[in-house]
Amino acid sequence: MTRVVRQPPAQPLARTRARLEGTTLVELTGLSRDRLLGMYQRMALIRQFEEQAAALYRAGRIRGVTHTYQGQEAVAVGATWCLTEEDYITSTHRGHAHVLAKGADEKRCMAELMGRATGYCRGRGGSMHIADLSRGILGANGIVGGGMGIAVGSALASDLLKNGRVTVCFFGDGALNQGILHEVSNLAAIWRLPCVFLCENNFYGMSGPVDNMLALGPDGFKGRAQAFGLPAVECDGMDVIDVFLGVREGVERARAGEGPTYVFTHTYRFLGHHVGDPLTYRDKEEPELWRRLDPIPNFGRLLVEQGLASTQDLADWDQEASVRIAEAVRYAESSPEPSRDTLLEGLFG
């Protein structure tokens, strides 16, 4: 097999830095200092959650299948920072980060990964099926592309109920080749629904690179959106601000009743498809090149440069994240298993 090293962008946060000439991060984004710091804190929390989930899985304390998100945190956080608590998201099999970014409680997420009765789904969903309706999280999804129909439906509901809510539909590069994407993109376009189709291209499937599986025209990823006459934005998925600005364009368009937008983010999965992936299909040096773009420390440095935080603050928040996740693990492990006699409960509502 030919293994191509995917060269990362030359500089971390290059697009954001270019935009910052003559302005500040607060001005550029319109976000308050607290919200900007919150981006760092949430990314750090997600990283810790994923590191712990992977470790617990390897230790046999989580069973089943766990797909982790290290490296992609800028996408989940950048996108959800454009949303209100009432807005909707749909997620994927690699969905822990999306739900945590949208505000789900890490304790109940961890409990769900461990199949405990205190988990979001009472242990019935597991890693690939976390939902929190109280925060507009319409569920992660075990089917590639499975959230796309749901996303268009919640967008229709917002439209008919005139409640102003927007739906962000997260999906991976793999879903670009699922039939449902074609159907719902077309439907959302003709109905001008308030949704953002957010593609996370992390370059790899389960056994190889996306290029072997994806036919693209001269306009690349954007060409897929252009086929439906939909506007498309392409973002550096290692740059939380670039993702935020790109998704915000789509969210604003949706709120203004101008229909759906595609946002393509290019990001990198530091680890394998799932915990335990031997990664035989990827050059071993490649992740090291991409780790230089790690969205968390690079954004931290930018916050320091901008005078919004000190290096001590960053260290404190990293520490805080590990304390919170350690607490989540304790909560999950001390939570009861579901009782056997609840197996048949709740098939129908």
Partner: protein, 323 residues
């Protein structure tokens, strides 16, 4: 009581429910101004227009897929899949998403969704427009399946289906659309999961649903000439299944003939037979019989199609073989 066609009864149910609850909307192919391929939604569109009766592209996956999200976000979609043969296109959305989200998300989400779809052979529409695939749907936990045989049942069951907080697949037999019957006015519901004895009899129970109810009633008339009393039990709902009605009728007659238009192998009749074997075996005076469609696609030729469809004489013959 006034008389309505099966199709008019369905339209009346839709209209009454849409007047009652603004969260209900209809979506499907050609359901709007055109009025639906069979004409069912025409009167509904006339009253509610394009904001509540939404024409979709030919995209079955998107029709059911979007409806799951709309239901989760507070609407009550009633979507139409023109022919049940097209339902497999949306299998993921129906079986993996709609059916599972309530249980899989620990009860956080409900999915009040009705999928109306036309089943059955008889109009020369051949292999891709004639199937009865109810057994597939019944196999998926989390879906309810309804198959009315009369206009009154169609109205009462559809209203219940729309009010149910779960995904319901509502099977309309296309050869029944023009059939007429008395239909109660106004708010009329029939609970899901309640079978009805359409004709009483003491010698043999003919267990059926949808268009086969008419065939069983005709078979009952044939059997009566021979002095055999056939009880025609219309299941009306397959999931939830009215086991009690099946078992008590079989306990009374001691004989059961299960009739469906769908193909035999893996058909829902096998499930009914299993229920009788497991829970009513001691009451049987003869083996359980199935009269079903053959294990073939539905052929186009009128001669072959007529041969495919279970007929009253075949049912009567099967019943007689048990006596």
């Amino acid at each position: 009581m006034r008389t309505l066609s099966y199709m008019q009864a369905i339209a009346e149910a839709l209209i009454l429910e849409m007047r009652r609850d603004p969260h209900i909307y209809i979506a499907g192919e050609d359901v709007g101004k055109f009025g639906g391929a069979f004409g069912v939604t025409g009167p509904v569109f006339k009253e509610f227009g394009p904001t509540r009766v939404l024409d979709t592209p030919i995209s079955e996956t998107a029709i059911i897929g979007h409806a799951v999200g709309a239901a989760a976000a507070g609407l009550r979609p009633v979507v139409e899949i023109l022919f049940m043969d097209f339902l497999p296109i949306a299998t993921d959305e129906l079986c993996n998403q709609a059916a599972k989200i309530h249980y899989m998300f620990g009860g956080q989400v409900s999915c009040p969704l009705v999928v109306r779809t036309a089943i059955g052979a008889g109009m020369g529409a051949a292999a891709h427009h004639s199937q009865s695939l109810e057994a597939w749907v019944c196999h998926i936990p989390g879906l309810k399946t309804v198959a009315p045989a009369t206009p009154a049942d169609a109205k009462g069951l559809l209203i219940s289906a729309i009010r149910d907080d779960n995904p319901v697949v509502f099977l309309e037999h296309k050869m029944l659309y023009a059939t007429k019957g008395e239909v109660p006015e106004g708010d009329y519901t029939i609970p899901l999961g309640k079978a009805e004895i359409k004709q009483e009899g003491k010698d043999v129970t003919l267990i059926c649903y949808s268009a086969m109810v008419r065939q069983c009633l005709a078979a009952g008339a044939l059997l009566e000439k021979d002095g055999i009393g056939a009880e025609v039990l219309d299941l009306r709902t397959l999931v939830p299944l009215d086991k009690e009605a099946i078992l008590s009728s079989v306990a009374k007659t001691g004989r059961a003939v299960i009739v469906h238009e769908a193909c035999r192998t893996g058909g829902f009749g096998g499930e009914i037979a299993a229920v009788i074997a497991e829970e009513g075996f001691a009451t049987l005076k003869a083996p359980v019989k199935r009269v079903c469609g053959p294990d073939t696609p539905v052929p186009f030729s009128p001669v072959l199609e007529a041969e495919f469809i279970v007929s009253a004489p075949k049912i009567a013959e099967a019943a007689k073989s048990l006596l």
